[in-house]
C-alpha cells in the first residue's frame, strides 16, 4: 500500500530525514519509535504533505500513486489520515460542520453523492460511540478549549468518520492519562481491518500495549536503524534508546 | 496613600547625582542662529567648501520649516536665537592614549561611574569621548586601524575620509527630513564616524560618551556608521548632562548604513538631566536616528534605555530596503516627576522577506507622561514581511500617564503583522511577596521593574546593562503606585 524509498527531507535548511525505506501493506500496524529529534514527526509531516518540509531525495508510493505530487487534501481523499500530535484550535468552525464538509468533499472526489443531513448525523452518532465522545463537544468550535484528551479523542473520531486506508497516529499518546489512552486505543483497534493500515509514531512503548503492532521500527538520526516485531519495543523500554545509539555508533 | 506619597516625596527630592560642572574653558560661538553662525562653525572647524554649502542649504530649508507639533509633549516655545550653537573646550589636543587626556575629563568620567580607564582595562571598549561638541580623546585607534576600521571624530573624518563623508552624509536622514534634522545639518558641531570594512567583525564594542557641559549650549551631534558587506559592529552611546536651570536643546542625528550581510547593533543609555522635581530645567532631547538596511540580509538593531531628559522626542528607525533584512527596536523609557517622553520607532518594510521586531517598555511615575509612538509600514512590493510589536506600559502612581500610538500601514497581502499592548501596575501582592522574603520596598520595586524591562536590558552589552539597571532603580526608587 505504502512504499517509501530513500526518503530524505529537510526543514529550514536543516536535514532531518536521511534516507528512509519503509513498506506498509494493508492490514498491518507499524510502530515507529525513536528518541526525541530522531525525525519521527517529520516523517509523519512529510506523509501528510506539510509544506515547510522539503523532500530532497527519494519517493513515496501510495496505492500506485506518487504521493509527493499530491496536495494535502488529495492525499486525504486518497485515504491518508493524520492524527495530529497538536490538533489546531479553529474558532468559529464547529466540528460537525467541519466533518460534514470534509466527508462530502472526499466523497465527491471518489465520485460518490453527498450525504444528506440525516444520514450524516446517523453516521456521526454511530462513530461517536466508538470513541466515547459527547455530541456537545462536537457542536463546539473545533478543538477550541478542548482538554488534551478531548482533542485526541476528536482526532480518532474524525478517523472513524473518514475511514482512511492509512492512518498515521503522531504521538497520539502524549498528554493522555491512562483512561483516555485506553479509550483512544480501543477506538483505533475497532477501526483496524484487513483493508487498512496504521502507522503509530510514538516515543514510549506504553501505547503499544493497547495498539499491538506487527512491526516496530527504530528511527535515529533520520534513518531506520533497526526493525523487528513488538518485542523490539519491549526491549527498547527495558534498555532505553542509548542502547540503540551505542549500537549505531559501533556500527 | 500617605505612605506612597512619602516614598514618592523621598524619591523626587533626590538630587541629580551627575550634576556638577567641569571647569573647562569654552570657546563659544555668539548666541543666535543665522547664516553667519553656520559659516562661523564651518570655518572654526576648517571645513571644505562643499560641506559649508551643504550646511547652508540645510539652514535655508530649516528656516522655511516649522517645529513639529504632533508629539504628545508640551514645552514653552524654544527661542532658537538664545542658543549658543558652538562651544569647544579650549585645550586643543591630539591624543594617542588615555594618559594624555585632560585629568579633569578622566575625573568627569569617574564621577559618572564609567571611567574610561576602567572600561579600557576591563572590557576593551574603545571610547571616542565628546565633551561639548568636540571630540577630545580617541583611543584604541591603532588597534582598530590594523583591521581597517575607521573610528574617529566626525571632524577628523571630514578631513581624512572626505569621500566617505560626501557619499554617505545625509544618505539615511536627508537634510530636509524634519525640523530638528535640518537644524542639526546646518549647525552640527561634531560627533563620531565609523566605517567597518568588508568582512570585518569589529572585535570590541565601540563607545561614545556625550556630555553637554557649558551653559546654554545646544548640542548638535552627528554620528555616521557604515558597515560594509559582511561586517559587524556593536556601538554604544551614553549620555549624561550636568544640572542646569535653563532647558538645553539637544538635536542629534545618527545615521546607520548597512550593506549586504552586515549588521550594526546600536545601544544607548541616556540619563541626561531630567529637570528638578518641579519640572524646572532639563534637557530637550529631539533626536533623529535612522538606519538603512541597504543590502540583502543586513540587520540593524537599536536598543535604548531612556531615563533622562525633560523631553524626549526620539524614534530610532529602520528602513528595510534589502531583501531578508532585519530591523529591531528594544526600548525602555522611564519618566518621573514632570518628564515627558514621546519615543518609539519606525519600521519601513520595502524589501522582500523583511522582518522587524519591536519591544517597548514604558514606565511612568510622578507626574510624567510617557508615550510610545511607532509605525510599521509594509510597502506594496514588500512581500512576506513580518513584524511583531509588543508595547507595555507600567504606571506608578495615579498622577502620570501612559500613551500608545502605533500606526500600522499594510499595503501587501502577504504581510503578517502583530501588535500587542498592555498596561499594568506593580502588584501589591508582588511587593508583599518580596517584603515577606526580607527585601526592602525600594529593592523590590527595582527588582520588579528590572524584571519587567529584562527583555530589553538583555539586549545591552554587559557593562551597559549594569549601568542601565542602576539608572532604572535610581529613577524609580520607592515610586510604588
Amino acid at each position: 500500500m505504502l512504499t517509501i524509498k530513500n526518503l530524505q527531507a529537510k526543514v529550514a535548511e536543516k536535514q532531518i530525514l536521511n534516507g528512509i525505506d519503509l513498506k506498509v501493506n494493508a492490514g498491518e500496524v507499524h510502530a515507529i519509535m525513536g528518541p526525541n529529534g530522531s525525525g519521527k514527526s517529520t516523517l509523519a509531516s512529510v506523509l501528510s504533505g506539510r509544506e515547510d518540509f522539503e523532500v530532497t531525495e527519494g519517493s513515496i508510493d501510495f496505492k500506485g500513486k506518487n504521493l509527493l505530487e499530491l496536495s494535502p487534501e488529495d492525499r486525504a481523499r486518497e485515504g491518508i489520515f493524520m492524527a495530529f500530535q497538536y490538533p489546531v484550535e479553529i474558532p468559529g468552525v464547529s466540528t460537525i460542520n467541519f466533518m460534514k464538509t470534509a466527508l462530502n468533499q472526499i466523497r465527491e472526489y471518489r465520485g460518490l453523492p453527498s450525504l444528506d443531513a440525516v444520514s450524516f448525523l446517523q453516521l456521526m452518532k454511530e462513530r461517536m460511540n466508538l470513541v466515547e465522545i459527547d455530541q456537545s463537544l462536537l457542536s463546539r468550535a473545533l478543538n477550541e478549549g478542548f482538554s488534551g484528551g478531548e482533542k485526541k479523542r476528536n482526532e480518532i473520531f474524525q478517523m472513524a468518520m473518514l475511514e482512511p486506508r492509512l492512518a498515521i497516529l503522531d504521538e497520539t499518546d502524549s498528554g493522555l492519562d491512562i483512561d483516555a489512552l485506553r479509550i483512544v486505543a480501543n477506538g483505533v483497534n475497532k477501526l483496524r481491518n484487513k483493508n487498512n493500515a496504521i502507522i503509530v509514531v510514538t516515543h514510549y512503548q506504553r501505547l503499544l500495549d493497547y495498539i499491538v503492532p506487527d512491526f516496530v521500527h527504530v528511527l535515529y538520526n533520520g534513518k531506520i536503524v533497526k526493525s523487528g516485531t513488538k518485542d523490539l519495543a519491549l526491549e527498547l523500554e527495558a534498555k532505553g534508546y542509548d542502547w540503540i545509539k551505542n549500537e549505531v555508533a559501533v556500527a | 496613600m500617605s505612605k506612597d506619597n512619602q516614598v514618592l516625596e523621598e524619591i523626587t527630592s533626590k538630587e541629580y547625582e551627575h550634576g556638577w560642572n567641569v571647569n573647562l574653558e569654552a570657546d563659544e560661538a555668539p548666541k543666535g542662529l543665522n547664516e553667519d553662525t553656520v559659516r562661523f562653525i564651518s570655518a572654526k572647524k576648517g571645513e571644505p567648501e562643499w560641506l559649508l554649502e551643504w550646511r547652508l542649504k540645510a539652514f535655508s530649508l530649516w528656516e522655511k520649516m516649522t517645529e513639529p507639533q504632533w508629539a504628545n509633549v508640551n514645552h514653552p516655545p524654544i527661542n532658537y536665537q538664545e542658543i549658543i550653537y558652538y562651544s569647544a573646550p579650549k585645550k586643543k589636543v591630539t591624543l594617542g592614549g588615555l594618559d594624555e587626556v585632560d585629568p579633569e575629563l578622566i575625573k568627569t568620567f569617574e564621577k559618572l561611574g564609567i571611567s574610561i580607564t576602567e572600561q579600557k582595562r576591563l572590557t576593551g571598549v574603545a571610547v571616542d569621548a565628546v565633551i561639548d561638541s568636540v571630540s577630545v580623546a580617541t583611543t584604541f585607534k591603532d588597534k582598530l586601524g590594523e583591521l581597517g576600521i575607521i573610528f574617529c571624530s566626525f571632524s577628523e573624518a571630514v578631513r581624512e575620509h572626505p569621500d566617505l563623508i560626501k557619499k554617505y552624509l545625509g544618505s539615511v536622514v536627508p537634510i530636509n527630513d524634519n525640523y530638528f534634522a535640518a537644524l542639526n545639518s546646518a549647525v552640527f558641531s561634531d560627533g563620531s564616524f565609523c566605517y567597518i570594512p568588508k568582512g570585518v567583525k569589529c572585535p570590541m564594542e565601540l563607545s561614545t560618551y556625550f556630555r553637554i557641559n557649558a551653559a546654554n549650549t545646544g548640542q548638535f551631534e552627528r554620528t555616521l556608521i557604515i558597515a560594509d558587506e559582511g561586517s559587524y559592529v556593536s556601538y554604544l552611546e551614553g549620555c549624561t548632562a550636568p544640572m542646569r536651570d535653563e532647558n538645553q536643546l539637544h538635536a542629534a542625528v545618527v545615521e546607520l548604513y548597512t550593506m549586504k550581510d552586515a549588521e550594526i547593533k546600536y545601544s544607548t543609555v541616556q540619563n541626561w538631566y531630567p529637570g528638578d522635581k518641579n519640572g524646572k530645567g532639563g534637557i530637550y532631547n529631539f533626536v533623529t536616528k535612522r538606519g538603512l538596511c541597504a543590502g540583502d540580509h543586513s540587520k540593524i538593531s537599536w536598543t535604548q534605555v531612556e531615563t533622562g531628559s525633560a523631553i524626549t522626542w526620539k524614534y530610532p528607525s529602520c528602513i528595510l530596503k534589502g531583501d531578508y533584512s532585519v530591523g529591531e527596536f528594544y526600548s525602555v523609557a522611564v519618566t518621573n516627576n514632570y518628564q515627558q517622553a514621546d519615543t518609539g520607532t519606525k519600521m519601513i518594510h520595502i524589501g522582500k522577506n523583511t522582518r522587524s521586531r519591536i519591544v517597548s517598555k514604558g514606565i511612568s511615575a510622578g507626574k510624567s507622561q510617557n508615550s510610545y509612538r511607532g509605525q510599521v509600514h509594509v510597502m506594496k512590493r514588500a512581500s512576506n514581511a513580518r513584524n511583531h510589536s509588543q508595547c507595555d506600559s507600567l504606571l506608578m502612581g495615579d498622577q502620570c500617564g501612559a500613551h500608545t500610538f502605533p500606526y500600522i500601514d499594510v499595503e501587501n497581502n502577504s504581510a503578517r503583522i502583530e501588535h500587542e499592548a498592555t498596561t499594568s501596575k506593580i502588584g501589591e501582592d508582588q511587593i508583599f511577596y518580596c517584603l515577606q522574603r526580607g527585601i526592602s520596598e525600594e529593592a523590590a520595586v527595582a527588582l520588579i521593574v528590572n524584571g519587567y524591562a529584562k527583555e530589553v536590558l538583555n539586549q545591552l552589552p554587559m557593562e551597559f546593562a549594569v549601568e542601565a539597571q542602576k539608572l532604572l532603580a535610581l529613577t524609580l526608587e520607592g515610586s510604588v503606585g
Binding site: 501528510s48 504533505g49 506539510r50 509544506e51 496536495s71 494535502p72 487534501e73 486525504a76 481523499r77 493524520m82 495530529f84 490538533p87 489546531v88 479553529i90 474558532p91 468559529g92 468552525v93 460542520n97 467541519f98 466533518m99 464538509t101 470534509a102 466527508l103 468533499q105 472526489y109 468550535a141 474524525q158 473518514l162 | 507639533q69 504632533w70 504606571l395 506608578m396 502612581g397 495615579d398 498622577q399 502620570c400 500617564g401 501612559a402 500613551h403 500608545t404 502605533p406 500606526y407 500600522i408 500601514d409 499594510v410 499595503e411 501587501n412 497581502n413 502577504s414 504581510a415 503578517r416 503583522i417 502583530e418 501588535h419 500587542e420 499592548a421 498592555t422 498596561t423 499594568s424 503606585g481
Partner: protein, 435 residues
C-alpha cells in the same frame, strides 16, 4: 493635529449653498457650527484624523452643492426591510422623514418617537438638555456640517422603567434615480433610568447618481439602562460620515455592532463616553470590503469613572482595491481606577491591491487598570488551513470556511435572532460568492 488643513473652496461652496435656507430649529447651534466650519474647513488627508479618508476630495469630484431635497418616487419599503424582523419602522427618504412609509404603532406607554421639528416644539426641556450636546460639532468638521445643515431627524424618548422590546428599525433610503442625493440626518435618543432600547439602522440607495449622507446621532443612556445598537452599511453608492455618540451613566449597558459591506467612502466616528461606574459595554465591528470601497472606523472609548468594563473588537477582510482603516482610541481618565478596557483589531488582506491602516491608541492616566489592545494584519492561520486540507477539504473551501468563521465571530453579542440571521446571511453571501 493642531493644524487643520482646509479645502477652502469646497467649504465656501457648501456654506453658500445653504445661505438662502431658513432653519426653524437650533438656530444658535447652527450658527456656531457654521462658524467652526468656515474657520476649519473640510479636512484633507493631511489632517491627522482623516489621513486615509479622502472624503473631501471625493465630495469635490462627485457632488454639486445645492440646498434642496432630491425628488423621490419610492412607494414601498418592502425591499429594504429585514426579513422576519418584528420592529417599529422609521423611514427617511433622501434625508426627509416619511410619515407615510414609517410604521410606529402601539409604542409602550410613555415612549415618544417623533420628528425633531416636532420635538423642538413640544419637548423643549429635553431638547435643551441634550440636543447637540454630545456630538463633536466643535471638533470635527463633518459633525459641524451636520449640526449646521441637518434637514430632519428623529427624537426618541424612553421614560424610566420602560423596556421597549421591539427594535426600532431606522431605514435611510436614498433615491438617486433622478438626481444626486445629499442628506444630513440626525437622531437624538434619550433612554431614562432602568429602561432599554434596541436600534437598528440600515442604509440603502437606488438609482445611479451619487449619494452623500452625514448622520449625527446622540444616545443618552441612563442609570441601569441599556442600549442595543446595530448599523449596517451595504450600499454601494454611499458616501457617508456618521457620527455616533453614546453617553453612559452608572450601571448602564451598551452593545453595538457596525457592519460595513459596501460603499464608496464610509467614515464612522463612534464615540462612547463611559461616564458612570459599573458599566459594561461591547463594541463590535466588521468590515468586509471589496471593489474600491474605503471604510474608515474611528472609535473613541472614554472611561471617565471607575469600575467599568469595555470590550472592543473590530475585524476586517479586505479584497479588491478596498481600503480598511481602523483607529481606536481608549482613554482612561484620572480617577477611573479599576477600569477594564480591552480592544482588538484583526485584519485579513485577500487581494494584491487592498490595504489596511490601523492605529490602536491607548491613553491611560490611572494606574490601577487593566487595559490592552492587540492588532493583527495577516492571512488565515496556516496551521488551521493545513488541518482542514489534511482532512480532504479543498483549499478554496477551507479558505471560505475560515474566513466565514473569522467574520461571523463578531456577531456573538447580537441577541435578536431575526437580525442575527439576516446579518449572518449577508456575511455568508459575501464570503461565499466571492471565494
Amino acid at each position: 493635529m493642531n493644524s487643520t488643513i482646509t479645502h477652502k473652496d469646497l467649504t465656501d461652496e457648501v456654506v453658500a449653498s445653504f445661505q438662502e435656507a431658513t432653519f426653524g430649529e437650533a438656530t444658535l447651534n447652527r450658527e456656531k457650527a457654521i462658524q467652526f466650519l468656515k474657520k476649519n474647513g473640510l479636512p484633507s488627508t493631511k489632517h491627522e484624523e482623516y489621513r486615509f479618508a479622502p472624503i473631501t476630495k471625493s465630495l469635490e469630484r462627485n457632488f454639486t452643492w445645492r440646498n434642496e431635497v432630491s425628488p423621490s418616487s419610492i412607494k414601498s419599503i418592502d425591499e429594504f426591510l429585514i426579513p422576519s424582523l418584528d420592529a417599529y419602522v422609521l423611514v427617511f427618504v433622501n434625508g426627509a422623514y416619511s410619515t407615510n412609509l414609517s410604521v410606529v404603532n402601539n409604542l409602550p406607554g410613555g415612549v415618544k418617537v417623533k420628528t425633531l421639528s416636532e420635538a423642538f416644539e413640544h419637548e423643549k426641556e429635553i431638547i435643551d438638555q441634550y440636543f447637540d450636546k454630545l456630538v463633536a460639532s466643535e471638533a470635527d468638521s463633518f459633525a459641524a456640517l451636520n449640526s449646521a445643515f441637518w434637514q430632519e431627524g428623529i427624537f426618541i424618548h424612553v421614560p424610566e422603567n420602560i423596556s421597549v422590546e421591539k427594535p426600532l428599525l431606522i431605514l435611510h433610503i436614498n433615491d438617486a434615480h433622478q438626481t444626486q442625493v445629499i442628506a444630513h440626518t440626525r437622531i437624538l435618543a434619550v433612554i431614562e433610568n432602568n429602561s432599554s432600547l434596541n436600534v437598528i439602522e440600515k442604509f440603502d440607495s437606488i438609482g445611479n447618481n451619487p449619494v452623500f449622507n452625514t448622520l449625527s446621532e446622540e444616545f443618552v443612556v441612563g442609570e441601569h439602562a441599556s442600549l442595543e445598537y446595530c448599523k449596517t452599511q451595504n450600499d454601494d453608492r454611499l458616501h457617508q460620515v456618521a457620527n455616533t455618540v453614546i453617553h453612559q451613566s452608572n450601571s448602564s449597558q451598551v452593545n453595538t455592532f457596525t457592519l460595513t459591506l459596501q460603499g464608496k467612502v464610509i467614515r464612522n466616528n463612534f464615540n462612547i463616553t463611559i461616564d458612570g461606574e459599573h458599566c459594561e459595554s461591547h463594541f463590535y465591528g466588521l468590515y468586509l470590503l471589496n471593489g474600491s470601497t474605503l471604510a474608515d472606523n474611528h472609535t473613541v472609548v472614554d472611561h471617565r469613572k471607575a469600575n467599568s468594563f469595555s470590550n472592543e473588537l473590530y475585524k476586517g477582510i479586505m479584497d479588491g482595491n478596498s481600503k480598511g482603516v481602523f483607529n481606536g482610541k481608549i482613554f482612561v481618565r484620572p480617577h477611573a481606577q479599576k477600569t477594564n478596557a480591552f480592544q482588538s483589531n484583526r485584519n485579513i488582506i485577500i487581494s494584491d491591491s487592498a490595504t489596511v491602516n490601523t492605529k490602536p491608541q491607548l491613553e491611560i492616566w490611572a494606574d490601577d487598570v487593566k487595559c490592552s489592545h492587540g492588532c493583527t494584519t495577516g492571512q488565515l492561520d496556516e496551521e488551521a488551513m493545513f488541518y482542514l486540507r489534511s482532512r480532504g477539504i479543498s483549499e478554496s473551501i477551507a479558505k471560505a470556511m475560515l474566513l466565514y468563521a473569522f467574520a461571523a465571530d463578531v456577531l456573538t453579542p447580537i441577541k435578536n435572532e431575526a437580525l442575527k440571521s439576516y446579518l449572518d446571511g449577508l456575511i455568508a453571501e459575501r464570503l461565499h460568492t466571492h471565494f
